[in-house]
Symmetry: C2
Subunit: 68 residues, 2 copies
DNA sequence: TAATGAAGTCAAGTATACTTGACCTCTAGA
DNA sequence: TCTAGAGGTCAAGTATACTTGACTTCATTA
């Protein structure tokens, strides 16, 4: 599932580690989601969207072709 | 996590089984989510929201107190 | 050069979303 | 009455989100 996290994070000039601590997950979880290794849980999606001031649907790109 | 699924489903006059088949999960999964036994995955949340014509944030009620 | 930090990745473990199959209870209709 | 459908729940299994800890590479800077 594609998302805008890496882009938005870089605009904010924060590291994966800093973003991870903002949303209470590990740095590896952020890395994996940015690189589409796995999909976030609904709470993590919510926390990330909230952190960037977006809706879940705007932060994550739901495309049928991305469905596992 | 509270949600409006049961209410909206009953307004549409469809059963848990029918809703389940619309979003490609088991009847038990719908039942468990309606009764807050567990949280939906992000894709299921998306599919349910889309089915009812709502955003994920409008269908599911994210409240800190509900966080596990 | 050497050291440090940021990012990518892997392995092993844990938590939980979801499945199938079963059983029970209640209600509505034949 | 009897039966079928709807909903609630349980047990056991599978898939995957996420953790911790470790290692590597690359870029920046002392």
């Amino acid at each position: 599932m594609k998302n805008s996290i890496k882009l938005l994070r870089e605009e904010k000039r924060i590291t994966q580690k800093q973003l991870a601590s903002q949303v209470n997950v590990s740095r590896q979880a952020i890395n994996a989601i940015e690189n589409e290794k796995f999909e976030p849980s609904i709470w993590l999606a919510y926390d990330l969207a909230k952190y960037f001031g977006l809706s879940i649907e705007d932060l994550f790109h739901f495309e049928e072709s991305d469905r596992k």
